[in-house]
Each structure stands twice: as C-alpha cells, then as structure tokens.
C-alpha cells in the first residue's frame, strides 16, 4: 500500500466507525432497522475491498461490509435509505455497480460467488469476485459446497472469512475444532492464508495477492482474517450475557483504527489536526447521506408485487388490486 492508499484506507475505516455510531443511535430512536456494525473489523473490511477494481471486480457480501460496498460504488445514501426502510428502486444497487445484495442466510452467498466467478471466466472477462463470510457461516454446508466447486472450476474468486470470534453468542471454539479456518482450503485444493485482520496493511497485502492470483487464472484463495467483533452481533443482541469483558478490553488494545493511526503518526503522516479534519469530513458525508436518504420515496403497498416476476401473474394482479383498493 502506498501512503496515499493508506490514507484512503484510514478514511474508509473512520467512515465505517462513524456510520456504525450514527446507525446505532438512529436504531435506538426507532429510525433505523436491525443493524450489524463493523466495529473492530474495519481493517478486514477495508483492506480486502481496496484490493479490488470496482470497474471489473465484484463483491458478494454477507452483511457486515458496508463500507466495502460503498467503496465499490454503492452510494452511501442508498444504503442509509435501506436502513431507514426505504427499500425501493431508488435504493437498489445501481446499474454498473458490481455488488450483489447483502445476505442474511449465512453462507448462501458463497455458491453464488462461485457461480458468478465461473461465469465471468467462461466469458473470458478479466474479473475477480470477492465474497465475505464469517467463522459462524463457515459451518454451513454451502461453505463446503461453494469452495469445493470453486476449486474444481478454478473460479476467480476470493473467499474472505472474517473470523471475529463470535457467531452471535456462540464462541469460535464451539464452532469448530480446527486450529485454523485457513487450513480448510487444503481440502479444496487451493491456498488458505491466515492474516492479522486488525492490520489493514497486512490484510490488503494478502487480499491483493489473492486477487492477482485469481486474475492470473490460478483459481481461488481462502483468506482467514483474524479479528474481533468489538460490539454486539446486531442491535437486538446483548453481549453482556455471554462475553467476558476482559476479552473485549483485550481486543480494544488491538483496535485496528488506533493501530493504523499510531503507524501513520510515527511516519509523520497524521496529526491531531488531520485527525479532526478527517473525522469531521466523514461525519459530514454521513449526515448528508442520511439527509438524502430521507428524501427517497417511502414504500407503498403495491411495492409488494413489484419485482417478483418480469410479468406478474393474473392472480398476483388481483391480489394487488385488493391491497391497493382497500
């Protein structure tokens, strides 16, 4: 990573954290839906996404990679609008933005990523797919099936596994007996790499190598990014029921934002003024996004029947009439 890229990375990381704070505050006021923050995982999310070229590469997300999608071209105000329940054409993924919808049926996105990468390869496109999953999602059968097929087809896909130590309340040790998630790649015939997921430089380096490998036709890579979820699973969760506060405190000492800021400061690339300026500018950008999001049209009953099929069936049209005339 060049200094310039690193400064860009820090800005995305600060934006992620600021967005989390804003969205959680809005959720507590009843103005935002259930939200899963990226707190503590910013180096993983940003370092991986910055290895991609948004013009030709694809992101197949799980749900905790908001700024990765924004960096890839999904406008922040649209994501804010979705959070605020304005789920219409005005908040969907724009044409030309190579991002798939977020996925809450965990690991179900992985076979999609494999198929997408396989299809891009069949069409001789110079594209790579990056897909996200967690330590919990890796227990799903879809994880195995997707990686296995990707290996067979040498699909240009990077499986980016954020091991944040928790699947809601289930700790990593109850998820698997394997000493390393990265080891699993051996079973699929492609490399697995473990990386310190709180070190944005290290994450970017392994992601960049994996993307280059995929683009060169050498097939998939599994990256295990070892990090820590420094928050709740989502806004309905209560970690005080299951998390040892010592673990959180220990993780806080490895906070990925603090680490990169210390590094930049030591290189003379960061100062208190710069810190205030960047934090201020990302907050302003987020506020502007929420303001634009509030202007998107609200949902209406007939939206229920939109985008189910290219052409709605006669029965659906009758049901739509019932809903809209009542």
């Amino acid at each position: 990573m060049t200094d310039e890229m690193l400064l860009e990375a820090v800005r995305w990381m600060l934006m992620s954290r600021a967005y989390d704070e804003r969205a959680i505050a809005l959720q507590r006021q009843g103005l935002y839906g259930v939200f899963s923050p990226g707190l503590g995982q910013e180096a993983s999310i940003v370092g991986s996404a910055m290895a991609l070229d948004p013009a030709r590469d694809w992101i197949v997300p799980q749900y905790r990679e908001l700024v990765a999608m924004v960096r890839h071209g999904y406008p922040l105000e649209r994501l804010a609008g979705i959070g605020m329940g304005r789920i219409t054409e005005s908040t969907r993924i724009p044409e030309g933005v190579n991002v798939l919808p977020t996925q809450v049926a965990l690991a179900a996105q992985l076979p999609h990523a494999t198929g997408l990468a396989w299809g891009l390869k069949l069409q001789k496109k110079d594209s790579v797919v990056m897909t996200y999953v967690g330590d919990g999602g890796s227990s799903e059968g879809d994880f195995h099936e997707a990686l296995n097929l990707a290996g067979v087809q040498r699909a240009p896909v990077v499986f980016f596994l954020q091991n944040n130590q928790w699947a809601i309340s289930t700790p990593r040790r109850m998820q698997t007996a394997t000493p390393s998630f990265a080891l699993r790649a051996a079973g699929y015939g492609f490399p697995g790499v473990e990386v310190d997921g709180n070190d944005v430089l290290a994450v970017h380096e392994v992601a960049h190598e994996a993307v280059a490998r995929a683009r060169a036709g050498d097939g998939p890579t599994l990256i295990e990014s070892v990090t820590y979820r420094m928050s709740f699973h989502n806004t309905t969760d209560n970690p005080s029921l299951y998390e040892d506060p010592k673990d959180r405190a220990e993780a806080a000492r490895r906070d990925p934002i603090d680490r990169v800021v210390r590094y930049l400061t030591s290189k003379g690339l960061w100062s208190q003024e710069r810190d205030l300026e960047v934090r201020g500018s990302v907050r302003a950008e987020i506020e502007a996004a929420f303001q634009r999001a509030a202007t998107f049209p609200a949902v209406k009953p007939s939206d229920l029947f939109e985008h189910v099929y290219a052409e709605p069936s006669p029965r659906m049209l009758g049901q739509r009439d019932d809903v809209t005339s009542s």
Binding site: P101, L116, W118, G119, H307, Y309, A310
Partner: protein
C-alpha cells in the same frame, strides 16, 4: 414429421436452444459423457463442448447456487437435479435464494435459470427418487413450476423455460420418458406458461391433473366412456402460473370435478385447485369435488408403490362417486 418420446423431445429442445444461444449451458450430475442417468443430455457434450455441458460435484445446493451466480454473470444455466426428491438438499438455494433474487435486489438482478428434475413413481426407483414434491415450490413465490405430460408440450415448455427471464422448475415425468412417441416438430416452438390444455372433451365430469397423472386420467376417461360417462380432461401444464380460467370454465360445463395428482393428498396442489373451484365455480357445482392423490405417508418401497400411487381404478371410482353412477 418427426416422432419423439418425452426424453427425445427434451434432448432436442436443449440441443436447439444451445445452438441458438451461446449463453445456454447445462450443469449437473452425470450430464456429460453419460448423458444423464436417463440420457436426457446424450450427445450434448460432444456437440456443444465441455465448457457448456458440465459434470458438477455431487452437491445439489451448489448446483443451484452456482446457477444463480452464472445467470448474474450473463450465462443461461439449465441445471439438472438428478431426481426432484434431491431438491431437499438444495431447497434453501431454490425457494429463499433463486426464486427471490429479483425481489431481494429490487429488480436489479434476475435469474434466467431452468432447473430440470425427473420425478414420479412407477419405475421401481430407490428411496427418495420418486417423491412428488412440486407443491413445496408453489409456496416459494418467484419461481415458476412447470409439469409437462407429453412430448410435444415437453419440448415447447422447456424452450419457454430456458427463454423465461425468471427461474423455472421443470419437472419431468420419468415414468413416461420412453412411453410412446408423438409428433414433435424440429425447430423451435414454445408452449406458453399459464395456459392449461383441454385434452379431452366430455359432458359429465372434469378430470384435472398434471404431469404423468394426465395420462392416468386419459386412461380413466376411456374406461368411464365405455360405461357411458364422458369426461373432460384438463392438463394444467403449469402450476405457477395457474390457469384458473380454463379449469373453472371446464368445471362449469360439467358441474363435477375430480383432481388427480401423484403427491400426497393433504395440501397437495389439488387442495389449491379445489379451494379455487369452491370460490370461483361454487354455483356451477352439482356434487362435491373429489381428490385422488397418493396417501399421506412417506413414499414407500418399490414393492408397495402400486398401492400408494393413484391408479386408473381409483380415478374411475372417484369419478363415479362424483356423477352418482
């Protein structure tokens, strides 16, 4: 004039669509050199090449999930699930993912994917190979459910499925695959979805069915006719979309109806047909509507299946109850 059985009609439809559209590809278990366990894809690997006819790992969820991704990349996948009963291993990728992707993306993405799946009893298959689970997919809005009963429809409905921008589950009646040939023209033609076919006209009772049960109803109608009871036979052809109009108008003419399917009776799609008739044809009915299905028990061993499946005798008996004869 080309005579084809259902299997040959399916093979011919796939071959012609692959020749017409370079995006069309086939993936599934044993679809390559073997040509599928029933040989539906025979010769297609040799003709269209290994990038377009692909044997996959033995893993149904990834066959469907990868088809979704392939479709988004710009390909037109025709996925084969070796037997419809094995969609259980892929259901989470069909109902919640493939069927809903257009909705989930608010129309940004759609999945032009066809899933072919043989099903049905009467061929002494091993466990799980015969299950008629089509109604499960009717409860998954976003996918169409297509049930051909003869070779002409099999080709036309399959071409329609491949060209449909939305996902289609195309269920093949394996018992009928090689049971006789009929005129199936060379060259592309389509049979539209949501258009039931009246395959026999009769004034006394309407038999409604789909897939292999249509042939059962035609045989039953022949027996009934010998006793002076004339049956109309309606072949739904597709369950989603459901052609309410054709069924209701046929039943309005006869005032009596029997619905026949291979799935277990309770909450089979026959229940939807009967509920629809109760609303749309109530004042035209002269007798309670009868249903003939398999029993509400797991699909049995092959040595028991003759008692489990609907038979000509059970259809004839239900029709006689219905007409009071």
């Amino acid at each position: 004039m080309t005579q084809r059985n259902i299997l040959e009609a399916i093979n011919n439809a796939l071959d012609e669509e692959m020749a017409r559209d370079p995006r069309v590809m086939i993936l599934g278990l044993d679809v390559g050199k073997l040509g599928g366990v029933f040989r539906a894809t025979s010769g297609l690997l040799e003709k269209h090449g290994p990038e377009r006819v692909v044997d996959t790992p033995l893993a149904e969820a990834s066959i469907i999930g990868a088809s979704l991704g392939l479709a988004i990349s710009g390909m037109v996948p025709v996925a084969e699930i070796q037997f419809l009963g094995f969609t259980a291993q892929a259901f989470h990728q069909i109902g919640p993912q493939l069927a809903r992707y257009r909705t989930r993306s608010r129309g940004r993405y759609h999945c032009q994917v066809t899933i072919r799946a043989p099903f049905g009893g009467g061929i002494s298959s091993p466990e799980f190979h015969s299950d008629a689970v089509e109604a499960q997919f009717v409860q998954s809005p976003g996918i169409k459910v297509v049930m051909p009963s003869n070779a002409y429809d099999a080709k036309g409905l399959l071409i329609e499925a491949v060209r449909d921008p939305d996902p289609v589950l195309y269920c093949e009646p394996d018992r009928l695959y090689r049971l006789g040939r009929m005129e199936v023209p060379d060259g592309p033609y389509t049979v539209p979805f949501g258009s039931a076919s009246v395959v026999r006209q009769g004034a006394d009772v309407t038999l409604v069915a789909w897939s292999a049960a249509v042939q059962l109803c035609i045989a039953a109608a022949g027996q009934l006719s010998a006793d002076g009871v004339e049956a109309t036979v309606v072949d739904l052809r597709t369950l989603v979309p459901f052609d309410v109009e054709t069924v209701v108008s046929a039943v309005a003419r006869t005032g009596r109806c029997v619905v026949v399917h291979e799935a277990p009776l309770t909450a089979g799609f026959g229940a939807e047909v009967v509920a629809t008739l109760a609303k749309e044809a109530f004042y035209d009915l002269d007798a309670p509507v009868e249903r003939v299905g398999s029993f509400d028990v797991p699909y049995p061993a092959a040595t028991l299946e003759a008692w489990y499946l609907p038979s000509v005798e059970r259809v004839v008996a239900a029709a006689r109850r219905c007409v009071g004869a």
